[in-house]
Amino acid sequence: MGEEVKLIGSIQSLFSFRIEWALKLKGVEYEYIKEDVRNKSPLIFKYNPVHKKVPVLVHGGKPLPESLVILEYIDETWKDCPLLPEDPYERAMARFWAKYCDEKIWQAYMAEGEEKEKAMGPALESLAFLEKEIKGKKFFGGEKIGFLDLAVGWIPHWLNVLEEVGSMKLLDAEKFPSLHEWAENFIQIPPVKECIPPREELVSYFHSALIYLRSLSANKP
């Protein structure tokens, strides 16, 4: 296409990684601009004035935030290695579960005490669905990685960080054997393996992020 592609992302943002994986899978050349979410640059305010967050994809100068929106854009713009299936019903299912997993597992990580007990239910439910979906398949997309693989692709490396920091156990290898196997396979594929951040860095970041996020909700009237 010849137009410049930039990805403004951060090692602290598990949502950024989805976009890197998608671009790498499709063989799209891009420039990675590193942000520190604790010390945001003017670029973020310029390209994502609404949410002031990463990731933001900038294609030919036009900015696009919101990782799942970006994934769909990437799929529609670069047709190699399609992420979403062809069939509208299958597409609907992929979108539904991507959204659900994002919301529920995050809520479980954020929650404390009684709230956490409540939040664990939907989080485990989303893992149970994924377990059912992945049985007999190598990836959610079939033989190849698809939209849902990228959407929940943070699970292999990040979930146990969130589990440790959030004091919860979700992905039990005995309860979710197929999902566990998928996670092991996913981590090994080259675009993913290339950009996995060090675990200690993630633990330290999410630990301080959790304290900060919980203090925000505690201070709400």
């Binding site: 004035p49 609404v50 294609h59 036009k62 696009l64 935030p65 919101e66 929106v69 970006i70 769909e72 854009y73 529609e76 713009t77 509208p88 019903y89 597409r91 609907a92 979108r95 539904f96 959204k99 659900y100 439910e125 669905f129 009237p221």
Partner: protein, 226 residues
């Protein structure tokens, strides 16, 4: 076509209305199944076991939940009167604004309605900030979709009527014509568009419903000590 399309909804759900409007805009025949959320039918629980909510679209026996997921499915399955434009960047922007509508605008407008005192003041500040973004996006356009109603119009459409209902009940202006001229004008145009106007729940019934919700919230917060 021999296809069976059913829509599970309630009489007032704004999310379900998006689907009604989309089906009507595309001229798709469908059957409505009204649900009482205080007494959910076995079919609803079967079709949406995850959220147990409406709307649910069932197409030839296959259920889909989540209104934005349903809208995209409808657009991909029935190609007439497209809701999303062809261009990937325009489509991405539409998805972005629809999500913003639900995540930020709806939440902040709801808080202006349901909260009191200082909390309401703070909610109004947040709502105004969010509405400013929409105002900017709306400038120079009749609808968010351009000349025709599109995806974002359907996503935000609840604003067109619900806001005036909230304003009437609480006696507070949320979308001021002077502050938000483009948004205000969109609200009028959208509410008056034939398909929308003919498929909006009765205003008096809506006022009764939301007044009751507000009364119940005030009653429960004054009876509980924090």
């Amino acid at each position: 076509m021999g296809e069976e399309v059913k829509l599970f909804r309630t009489w007032s759900s704004s999310f379900a209305l998006r689907i009604v409007w989309a089906l009507k805009i595309k001229g798709i025949e469908y059957e409505t199944v009204f649900e009482d959320l205080s007494n959910k039918s076995p079919l609803l629980l079967q079709y949406n076991p995850v959220h147990k909510k409406v709307p649910i679209l069932v197409h030839n026996g296959k259920p889909i939940a989540e209104s934005f997921v349903i809208l995209e499915y409808i657009d991909e399955t029935w190609k007439q009167a497209p809701l999303l434009l062809e261009d990937p960047y325009e489509r991405a922007k539409a998805r972005f604004w629809a999500k913003f509508g639900d995540d930020k605008v709806l939440t902040s407008v709801w808080n202006v309605f349901i909260k009191q005192g200082k909390e309401q003041e703070e909610a109004l500040v947040a709502a105004t900030e969010n509405l400013k973004f929409l105002e900017e996006e709306m400038k120079g356009k009749k609808f968010f979709g351009g000349e025709r109603i599109g995806y974002v119009d359907l996503a935000l459409g609840f604003l067109a009527n619900l806001i005036s209902i909230f304003e009437e009940i609480i006696g507070l202006k949320i979308v001021d014509e002077e502050k938000f001229p483009s948004l205000y004008s969109w609200m009028q145009d959208f509410a008056e568009a034939p398909i929308i106007r003919d498929n909006w729940p009765p205003r008096d019934k809506m006022i009764v419903k939301f007044q009751a919700l507000l009364d119940a919230t005030i009653a429960s917060s004054s009876s509980s000590s924090k």
